[in-house]
Symmetry: C2
Subunit: 110 residues, 2 copies
DNA sequence: TATTTATATTGCAATATTACGATAATAAAA
DNA sequence: TTTTATTATCGTAATATTGCAATATAAATA
């Protein structure tokens, strides 16, 4: 049905899924990587970096912003975007759990 | 168009996106969390855990398996699933970069 | 105020995802 | 070999995502 039964999962599960989903597109990975490289930049810079039209980039930025992974500040006529620590902090714990588990696991079937 | 222009991105970007996308659904988060809790289990156990029908769970397991995040071994009539270290290892570096960056960042616009 | 520049929104077509009933496939048990 | 148990696949409906042209909005500048 294309509709996720999110009401049947915990808030934590839904939140983690939303964050991972936002990261789950190569254009949005590229945007994150670019922001790490240049620290902060405006939408137009990303349009020049990526093989996508301006409305498409704007849409990807919106999704990253909604998920809490980036934030934007007005800077004259442009909007300056950079990573939002808060969003990444939320994912951190999840992957830490997994890594801790994988380092200590024993007696698995596979 | 609903079609991702993956040919315009690097292999690394596409691979990271595929992994994140696979994690980006609450049911698949729940499956991963369950596997951490019980170490390994069969599909039927997950069907009992989640509010989803068996074909739906099977489909989610397939996606996690295709992404390299879980693996399954035949164990009698059942299939025993557990986490696949390989997949998570690939994401680890990406988040490590982000966390290192966020810990040292300065002079941001926002 | 009119123009330019930068970004967002709308509308739409193409494609992908989610979910599940029905059914198939596979292997153990009777 | 038939039955039972377990998981996978098929088919399909509902919904979501991706991408972009066209357009709107907002702020700076002439």
């Amino acid at each position: 049905m294309g509709i996720t039964k999110s009401e049947h999962f915990t808030d934590e599960q839904n939140e983690l899924a939303t964050l991972a989903k936002a990261i789950g597109h190569p254009a949005r990975i590229a945007i994150i990587q670019h922001l790490i490289k240049v620290n902060s930049c405006v939408c137009g810079d990303i349009v020049n970096e990526l093989p996508l039209a301006q409305p498409t980039v704007s849409q990807h930025l919106k999704e990253l912003k909604n998920a809490g992974l980036i934030k934007g500040n007005f800077e004259g006529a442009s909007i300056c975007y950079c990573l939002n620590e808060e969003g990444f902090e939320k994912i951190k714990g999840f992957f830490k759990n997994i890594n801790d588990y994988l380092e200590n696991k024993k007696n698995q079937c596979c």
